[in-house]
Symmetry: D2
Subunit: 507 residues, 4 copies
């Protein structure tokens, strides 16, 4: 059966999918591999904001207590902050600031998280914390201008509902931190945007309480935030884990929860940012590297913007050290790119989304159809991704009748990733899984990582193209239809006079 795509648009495609992307800790952004990865991502995808941990942790070197004239003072140092933010802006991406973790010189305890030891205890002095927040924002406003910084959302802490990230997961302590911080932000400028509570899945009850708290105490709150992951518990092997996954709908459900929870309450209508999402929350789950993963997330990217204001893929590249230095080029990292810029299938899912049009023409369980201002139509289609572990489906069909207007023909360019194509991980496996590939092997992997491309001229009848897409295992495909409005072939031209094209003109 063929789906008839309406000619009239169904509204604009939300930019929620590209509004923000996740990153490893702040000071990793100083690295060349990181910046080259981000440059590539920005060229082909173009995220708007970037969010990660550690802006205030020791590695960024901001909070610097010292002694002078017999007393303790604090210097605020922005050597690295400026290098990173300068680079972000040069690359066309803006910070989504996360205020955390605790500088060791301001911490009330010793508890840390991650291989890189982010301190997760409350401040020893809330006044000094507030001053740190104010000094940081004043510096950023001074350097980048108020108009610029007002576009950067500022989130207070990360996943305070988890003991690993906030000592004792102490909700009252988080509320206090939020209150102090939100006021400090607004003291710098009332137009700066502050929000929270940045909770992980499984703590939905925090959000209504947070809304009530800020309402009761009249604490500023410009947006709310949460995270979304769909994996089950980790079964460990050395340098890796395996996990079950919930169906992709579970992610969309997590995206949708805050709007429902806030409806009718004091924060009703506040923007909802899903400031982290992925399938697995583990940076060593090989699922992130697979073709399956792109097919699994395709409906999430296609539909997520309907239920929240942004959802940030965690993370854009594998330059990431939460559990230490990655032991192999493919290691199940979160990244869209491995170290050294090998594109994973999910990278292409994002790159395909970046080539969609502004106007939605149709949505379906296995497709999204959009139109560009110049009349081109872009179709994203995907094969099923079965989380119960069955054999992948090959031969899934997507059949559409697509309106392209009054052209004589349409040029179809199709780009695909699947188990077979655009799947560098598969090539790496066939190469014997070299942990640290040689230059030649990197070249091979980059070649293997490119999507399969094909093209064809399709007839247009009554302003429509009948598009039949047969999808391979875990295929995600982008079909771009360009109506051929002007045929510049001169009247005297006859392709049959060319050698090699045969009697039958193959065009």
């Amino acid at each position: 059966m063929r789906t008839v795509v309406p000619d009239r648009g169904q509204g604009r495609l939300s930019e929620a999918w590209r509004y923000c992307v996740g990153t490893g800790r702040f000071d990793l952004a100083l690295r060349r591999d990181y910046q080259e990865s981000l440059a590539l991502v920005q060229r082909e995808i173009g995220f708007r904001h970037i969010r990660g941990h550690g802006l205030l942790s020791d590695g960024a070197g901001v909070h610097r207590p010292y002694e002078h004239a017999g007393e303790r003072r604090v210097r605020h140092v922005f050597t690295y902050v400026d290098q990173v933010v300068d680079a972000y802006l040069d690359l066309g991406i803006r910070p989504f600031l996360e205020l955390g973790f605790m500088p060791s010189g301001l911490a009330s305890g010793e508890q840390t998280v991650f291989w890189w030891h982010g301190n997760v205890t409350p401040p020893a002095s809330h006044a000094e914390w507030a001053e740190l927040v104010r000094a940081t924002l004043r510096h950023l406003v001074g350097r980048y201008g108020l108009d610029e910084v007002r576009t950067w959302p500022i989130e207070v802490w990360n996943e305070p509902n988890l003991k690993e990230f906030w000592q004792d997961a102490d909700e009252a302590a988080y509320h206090r931190l939020y209150e102090v911080t939100a006021h400090a932000v607004k003291e710098v400028d009332a137009g700066l945007l502050v929000g929270g509570p940045a909770i992980s899945p499984g703590a939905d009850e925090w959000l209504p309480r947070f809304a009530d708290f800020v309402a009761a105490r009249d604490v500023p709150c410009d947006f709310v935030s949460r995270h979304a992951y769909s994996s089950g518990p980790a079964q460990h092997v050395p340098f890796g884990v395996h996990q079950t996954l919930m169906p992709a709908e579970a992610l969309l459900e997590q995206f949708a929860t805050p709007r429902r929870q806030l409806a009718g309450g004091p924060l009703a209508g506040a923007p909802v940012h899903v400031t982290e999402f992925n399938s697995s929350y583990r940076p060593d789950n090989p699922v992130h590297d697979t073709a399956f993963h792109a097919a699994y997330l395709a409906p999430v990217l296609a539909g997520g913007g309907e239920v929240c204001d942004s959802f940030a893929y965690w993370t854009f590249c594998d330059v990431f050290e939460e559990i230490g230095v990655p032991a192999s080029i493919f290691h199940g990292g979160f990244g869209l790119l491995t170290h050294r810029q090998i594109k994973k299938p999910t990278y292409h899912l994002y790159a395909f989304m970046a080539r969609m049009g502004e106007e939605v023409l149709a949505r379906g369980a296995d497709h999204l159809v959009t139109r560009h201002g110049d009349g081109r139509v872009s179709v994203l289609a995907w094969a099923p991704a079965d989380v119960t572990g069955g054999d992948p489906v090959t031969g899934h069909q997507v059949r559409l009748s697509v309106p392209v207007g009054p052209a004589g023909s349409a040029f179809l360019l199709r780009s695909s990733v699947s188990e077979e194509h655009g799947n560098a991980w598969a090539a790496w496996r066939e190469l014997g899984r070299p942990a640290s590939p040689a230059a030649r092997e990197l070249d091979v992997l980059r070649e293997a990582a490119e999507p399969a491309r094909s093209h064809r001229a399709l007839p247009v009848r009554d302003g429509r193209v009948e598009l039949d897409l047969r999808l391979g295992a875990h295929e995600v495909t982008l079909a771009e239809l360009t109506p051929v409005l002007v045929d510049e072939t001169p009247p005297w031209w006859d392709d049959r006079r060319l050698l090699g094209l045969g009697e039958e003109n193959p065009a």
Copy 2:
């Protein structure tokens, strides 16, 4: 039937195919598009020398007569020569100097060739010509060093056997020019390499007479040169021509003729450079843009080095103006690249050759098998190209038993161009043949121009891989086999535990 490739090498693969490449006239090398094209070609192919017309024509501005103190003098100006040669050397390519055409201030007549008016008459003064040659070479030696310039062959004039290129095709006049020039070259340095007669096809009788002449007069001659083309007469349409082609063997035969002709004579053993070759000699024959062309030339590239010392593809890019400014991005130009660096199928034929190994293992009518120093085996295979105009053959099979040594498996990376893939011309036709494509269309054409890539793990039995290559219409394919000597898969790893790979591990 399967060809068994011997494990023992059959000698080194000759570099004759990449020793030299042709180019449009000298001053076109000042252009950015030209230099970007050459940079790409050098990165992926890596020619050693480059040869074109016009070093001494007015456009390069070398020969500059003027009056001073009442008498005529000549200044030799190297403003552009230095810019071009500096660029060549920066790009890792060396000149193959062609001395010509005649500066208008030194010409004895008015006859010119090409849209850009190269003067093709003998010098009004052989002494002033000799001084021009000496001054030019002295300048080059002074700027680039004697060791460097001694590696640049120096050819005297171009196709003097044709009236279009040398007034009246006057053989005696050419011999005189050659003699004067060869002596001028050797006066600068006896180690500089000089040769001729750079004849076009159809003038085979010139070569023995040239050999006799230089022997009789004791004129220096370090190499001989000729051209090779395989097309028939041109049938014109506006901005284009159609021509018949002889089978590819005709080119190999033209390459082979000089060695046979010189054998036993005074120039026996002199290096033979085919300083131009192509199918058609017309810069507006669409055959140059096609997939057919790559398949047609594949056996020529694979085998040409057996019968001559070099054969230079005419030309590396479409920046070329012999019949005027090209009227369309695809216009049947000689180039491996169009303007703006769109790769034609023949480009990939060269790029595939550049990935072959140093050692030949086997040669066949439809394949060439080579081995690299590190044990990898590269196979070039090609489908038939029928010059009689029949329908292209699809499904041609090449079956080889390839020795890869004692590995557990081999990684196959296959890259192909054919009527369907790596064929930007076909995509351009489907787009409605836009003469001057917009930025988006250029992007599409560049994507369409990339070869199809696929990869697989193949079993190794008794040190051999059974390789079955099924070729599409006019396909040229590069199959690269990397023996997997170390499998770094850890003992605990089980791909079946990954979601999406199914019960049957597809690897």
Copy 3:
């Protein structure tokens, strides 16, 4: 005596000086050296538009008559036009289109101008000319968009008052050409800007007649244009000329004439573009290369914007061929840059202007004072340039009292070019005038071409800095004053504790 610079601004600094710049003929823009020069110029100066000859001449290959089905047709080809305009826009500069010269296939005669043979005869068919104009503009609008092309002024022909540029300097024929062209432009879009008559100096009487003509016939005219040069007749030596110069005021007078002439008439208030200006109109006058030239033009750049809407330096670089291939790196070319991007003193005059502030604080015979939005003050000052050939003045003093606001001190960064510094021509002379410098010599010349820089902290008293500038021979200097609003020196710091600074802290 010290000039007291007022604290209140005297209006915005006009951008007339950077609105447009001249260039060699259209197809030279395809060259790499040209584009690298333009990239440098745009990075450090930032012109808005670029204007040169030859858009419609044979070298650009637009007008292409051919025969088909027994009749003459014309194809319009934009292969090179698009390459050039794409490059311009990429480099942040827009065309100022000049429609000319005549394609040989449309010309009514054989007369040409320049080494590159621009045909200067009227069209054989005004209808075919109009179609050429329409086709060109339609193509540009199609490719770059109407909003973009509406910002490109379109000038009809070049210097029709000179027999060299327009057959017989036939005014009536020019008026006819203008009328046909202006209507053709407006047929494409009424919002496109068309103007003329692009006259050379010495033909002031053409302008009122042109104004009357367009008024009488109701011909569209959106701006008027003229050229300005200040040199006397050429005394030739081989590869060069010498000329007398009028004082710089003569250029300002030429800039000012059109507004006066048009006042009260039908074109009163029309924008006046001086679409070419320079001292000498010869591309082989060494004055262009000298420090004298920068000092000579400094008052012109500082003041020209008061009397016209733009004045375009002829030309931005030495890639230029009106009298043939330049015979030496320095050859008296018009360029701000030589081949290979050696900066001449006049380049720096422009680069200094590009660092001036938006607001004029003071103007004087030897200085211009401006303020930036952030409070910095930039001063341009220049030494006298004596056109009568006397010894250059050294030690000219410019003394200013400059308002910088309530800072503790001001940081002065001074950049200067003069006979001694920033004068690559002088270094080249000392090197023995190598016509085609080696790589090392080019490095030396580039180093010698950089302005002298010095810096100092100056005291601020009552919000003012007393600035004393002593100028060397033909010095042009940029003095940039940055008020130091925050001194971050920590309280414990004492420079006297540093080794090497001595007892007296030099700060």
Copy 4:
């Protein structure tokens, strides 16, 4: 009095000064700022090797113990090692490997050094350490080839004579570590170069004992190494220190000690590498940023190669974290460059050395004279640097009679850094010491950091130029003399005909 420079060379200029340079810890090399700094340094200076700490510390992630099948195993991971070494080789610099510090998973204790916690305790298992060394070297040999790695010296540990760097400064424990390590190195390949003991100043007695130990136990030792610093004890202020300095001769004396100590013993004639040197050993001593520092080190660079085989400046850039994140762009760091590539005066001292000739003509207390293969003569001269803290000397004279051969004149290009020029630190001070400069300020600092340049034509008499150099405070100057062998000025040329040059030709 004028020094007469002999015409006959005094031997080749040793490359000891550029053989090696120091760097911050291994994983800092992953940063973009670091690699951009190194690229600049390599372009203008060109060191041969680079040495720093931390190859085996946790930050590089090499040693990775894990559990599998109930037992402890170790995986060796080269993710970061390969990224760094790939980058080094791409930038034209080779590792000088330092084996250390101890991975925490292999350490016998908890003691660490630096803000980044390098563990300085002996291995818990010498066998596992030896395996770590072998695995690392085998990997490097596999990736880069044996010929390459054989050129990389391998040093065992760092400053074991200091308790901060080696637990208890236990000499016997170091000897044992050295022995195990040296044998492990040679087990990989006998041609790899191993050495030690990398001692700090003040432990000269360790070297003879080390020589005796390796001789007695027949332990391989291909070179010996030590460090050199000339500063006194640190007086701390917040974020900085002040120290006294010994005269520069003290450094040369430290360089010279090992050859003297080893003479006649078992290691006599072994290459001596000073693997670290600087004035102060503190990364927060402002002396590193000053013009004084360049003048102070000039005689060390000029003369050090006479007494040892290499001396490595510690360090090439300020990307360095031994005492934490630098709090300000200038902070007294070791670097030749600050963050973001602002050149310090000492950078230029090195860049000047890189422009010296291969052949030494003369050495003096304030100068070094060299000649290039092409006849150019380069002179390095320096003003006195008084370590007792007096006012800097201005007006120091260096007068030389320099042989340049039979030229008509010589072109002098002089480049200088001093208190006034090429001194970005002084400009930064005048700007109010902005800790984290804005983009504009960085531009200003980069401009201020360039050396002053001047040029002149000097007469040649009897093949000699009389060179008078007057030096400013702490000036280091490079005077490059190019004999003008060919004067290309045409016979008709007369500069007096140019406007602006006056009656007297200033040339």
